[in-house]
């Protein structure tokens, strides 16, 4: 089993590479690194003009949509370069999740929660649909996501971003420690 476990790039390689997105975009054409506005752009393209929130020039935001197209291609490219393996999480996490009924640790996401068969069962309803909805609603209300607030905002020492990141962790900790035990058992 040991040889199946992944060897991810260490944090001190991945972190700085992600951090360099900030100056790269600022210096190239004065863009602040962010991802979740593409959710708004999509709605603005699909249903323009109906709501004030979607009334703006998406053309100005094209760069960001090319960026996320790249992220999608990057995910594909990396999946071709490296075989999917068991993510090398700590033994303690494996034990905690096993106690909640998560037993398949192969791949990047647990197949018990994210699969087509379970889609309209409780798991799909909560983890796929409700989770996705909360991401979209929450990031637009908070005015940014982990990229725009946690990486770019904190790099600029933005108080709004610090507040949002505190919120991210309150929500994530509450869900992990109080909701998951109820949802999974």
């Amino acid at each position: 089993m040991e040889s199946m476990v992944s060897s991810p790039w260490p944090w001190y390689v991945a972190g700085p590479l992600i951090g360099l997105m900030v100056p790269a975009l600022l210096l190239f054409d004065n863009r602040q690194f962010g991802i979740s506005s593409t959710l708004r752009d999509f709605c603005a393209v699909v249903r323009p003009g109906k709501l004030e929130y979607f009334n703006y020039s998406v053309k100005e935001q094209l760069w960001r949509n090319w960026l996320v197209l790249g992220v999608l291609i990057g995910g594909w490219l990396a999946s071709q370069l490296w075989e999917p393996v068991q993510v090398g999480i700590s033994q303690q996490t494996i034990q905690d999740l096993s106690a909640l009924g998560i037993t398949n640790f192969s791949g990047y996401v647990p197949s018990e929660l994210f699969n087509w068969k379970e889609l309209f069962g409780l798991h799909g309803l909560v983890f796929v649909f409700t989770g996705g909805f909360m991401i979209g609603f929450g990031t637009r209300w908070a005015d940014g996501c982990t990229a725009g607030h946690a990486i770019t905002g904190l790099s600029l020492l933005s108080p709004a971003s610090l507040l949002a990141v505190v919120g991210f962790f309150i929500g994530g900790l509450f869900t992990t420690h109080f909701l998951l035990p109820i949802l999974l058992t």
């Binding site: 959710l39 790249g70 791949g107 996401v109 990486i151 507040l163 919120g167 962790f169």
Partner: protein, 138 residues
């Protein structure tokens, strides 16, 4: 043509998200359970790198390629929106194990169920716009 730059940068970002396992639901669980330094190291060193870059840009008055002053404006503080929206986002992050960039990278990697997570996020965005005026912001 200049969008080739953004596309390439996105590809690099996507590769990093997969190869550092930031896009993994398991890694996000490990983070929210404080059982590994991995995710904290990534976020921490990313912010440190970004902040140091901004500091250097400001200190030496470095301009953009076209010679403009660099945009270092920050988003306005609207504490209720930042906090309550942030909490909701954090809950979605823990449930799906993905924030927006990893959703795109996961779809690319072949986890096609995440197309439905993305569509749900579009719906969430649309509903936010519908009820925006009724929500507390400032």
């Amino acid at each position: 043509m200049r969008y080739v730059f953004h596309l390439v940068l996105g590809i690099l970002f996507g590769v990093v998200l997969l190869k550092s396992e930031v896009l993994s639901w398991f890694r996000i669980q490990e983070m929210f359970r404080f059982q590994s330094f991995h995710m904290y190291g990534i976020i921490g060193s990313a912010v440190a790198t970004g902040a140091l870059s901004v500091l250097i840009i400001k200190k030496f008055g470095i301009t953009t390629l076209s010679g403009q002053p660099v945009d270092v404006t920050t988003k306005p503080v609207r504490w209720k929106a930042n906090l309550f929206g942030g909490i909701l986002f954090g809950m979605g992050w823990a449930l799906t194990g993905a924030c927006p960039a990893p959703i795109y990278a996961l779809i690319g990697s072949g986890a096609y169920v995440f197309v439905l997570v993305l569509i749900s996020a579009y719906v969430g965005t649309y509903v936010y716009a519908l009820v925006k005026k009724k929500l507390p912001h400032g």
